[in-house]
Symmetry: C3
């Protein structure tokens, strides 16, 4: 398996143009996280141009955090276009279990076989069709509870599923990896999960989806650990986190990544 | 009257799920302020799901800062659902006097009797139907000028009205409280007023609306005072403000709250 | 020509109310940049009120970063209203060359003769109708390559065109100015270009568009230089940048502006 520092270096060397259809809460911090990490984000979501732009971008991410019928249409249009062009795309099923509308839209997107799905345990379980206890957009379940659901989803889509939480789980239905990097302040800043989806999108552009997703999660979690040094709360943490995404390099990642394959 | 530190502790103990239909400018910072303070914000505004979600949340806040017909519909749907479920909801009538459209939508929401209305003096006067000098979303009037308008609105809705500015005024039409906490840098950061509405929503979840609103305003203003220590401008102030919302505890609030009942 | 410090002082003395129809990514940081600099931003974009509000505001800015048919309609409504009221307005043609939809909307706005157009070299070339290499919203061309396109556009609209990049170019078709202030970290923070458009809008309110645009660019670039001192990455840079927009005064600008007229 390619080491995570190689994945990081490759992402930075290509600075991939990644199209993101994400929610209103996440847009700014997601773009900043991706820019800091070294990618080229583009927030293009209008139905009039989403599919056309998917042909230009190297990868696509889709997040259902703040939906509307027009946006849901743009999401399926863009995902279908990414598939047509052989481009990878990442699905973030935010709070999918909370309302009927989210379930409906998420099912339409799931049918388009995302290259990677990234969610918390509640979301992955809900998406797989089992019972889950979701309290809004927070994770109500431990990551380990979602192992079976993740594997089921990965086999159903032929893609990779990442369950993120205190420790993260990544599987393609056959291989399993646990990523232990991260910090408790991360969920105290809004949209850091959504922003991670953008980082995953940048890593999977032109790389093996399983390896690239593992690398993206380790990189992101390690940046969180570095940012927590000296942070006085979620405000200063968020600032230091963007700095860490910018300064953390391949050597840091090779030393700091805590990945367990199984 | 319950002391404000008790209100803060109760809010943090329950970490209430609060649904927010707010404007595009405020979404991110409002979610971050609520997370930092200890609440569980959910930004759910699509007409397809807003009312359904209002049944799940403990409280709702509605802000007319960036309107559209779909959003206005979601606002009235969600407010009506909150009323049906006996959940408190807070109205933030941003710049209500500025355009005809805002006046129309605000009147529809006012007819649904919000548990709390939070605005600046110009907005409260405009909402009460008197003349007000509003320059965009800034307050053109001193808070004291709006005392009568606030009392009229409170009696009309049977709820609480908070007028925020250099000093804040809270009334339920019978009781009046003045909250003197705050700092002049606060209005130099966009959406801190909108974010306060979310904090009020988190405090009133399961608490007496008058007491909880007073506590929320004192907590928020005191965090502003703490953040101003060492801030070099609105950028570093905003960072320190999120940290202060996170670190300020009941003891700090008991010592630092400046509340005058009348 | 009026010196840039005079333009800055005049902007701060009047704290102009500027209406901004901008993209979802930029809204918060743009409002914060304008507040920090001393202007009064109002983010009013609903078709139901955009034109009415343009009659209240002193200036208008329009940014096509995240389009939809309703918003495009509000943009042309508001720009036409600004023209009717004799108010200046600024166009920011984000990524205009990337999709057919953007080209169509930008052409409609261009026909309304913006007082100022601010874009990167790729955008200005695309808007002028020549070939341009745009990679998403980043500038693929050096500013100097766009000199002819800028002059052509300025003469066609009767307005001012500003091409921003490592060094900036401003022209009204006759006069040309180069602004050399700025810092390489600025494009690593999302929406700082969009926010600059708001600062230009604040400066041109009631001032000569060419002189005010030059002053706005020097002020903004100088704030970037000051913010880079001690910044550890794009996170701390963005915080220090808002502080610098707030603290930088006329004396600093008179000393630090690097403007070459030709």
């Amino acid at each position: 398996m390619q080491t995570p520092d190689r994945s990081l270096d490759q992402m930075r060397d290509t600075a991939p143009l990644v199209q993101n259809i994400t929610n209103f809460v996440a847009m700014n911090v997601m773009a900043n996280a991706m820019l800091a990490a070294g990618a080229s984000p583009a927030m293009v979501h209008a139905r009039e141009e989403a599919a056309e732009f998917a042909g230009l971008a190297i990868a696509l991410t889709v997040n259902i955090g703040t939906l509307s019928p027009d946006w849901a249409g743009a999401m399926t249009d863009a995902a279908a276009a990414a598939n047509d062009h052989g481009k990878p795309w990442v699905l973030d099923p935010v709070a999918v279990g909370a309302t009927t509308y989210r379930q409906t839209v998420a099912a339409q997107l799931l049918a388009l076989n995302p290259t990677v799905i990234r969610g918390n345990a509640s979301e992955i379980i809900a998406l797989a069709g089992k019972d889950a206890s979701g309290k809004g957009v927070d994770a109500g379940d431990a990551v380990s509870v979602a192992t079976d659901a993740a594997a089921v989803l990965a086999r159903r889509t032929g893609g990779v599923v990442a369950v993120t939480g205190q420790t993260d789980l990544v599987t393609d239905g056959t291989r399993f990896a646990e990523v232990q990097n991260g910090h408790p302040l991360m969920p105290r800043v809004t949209a850091l999960g959504c922003s991670l989806t953008g980082i995953v999108g940048a890593f999977v552009a032109g790389q093996d989806p399983f390896e690239a997703t593992v690398a993206a999660l380790a990189f992101y979690g390690l940046a969180g650990e570095r940012a927590a040094n000296g942070a006085k709360g979620p405000g200063s943490f968020q600032v230091a986190f963007l700095d860490a995404l910018y300064t953390l390099d391949g050597h840091d990642l090779a030393r700091g990544a805590r990945i367990v394959l199984s």
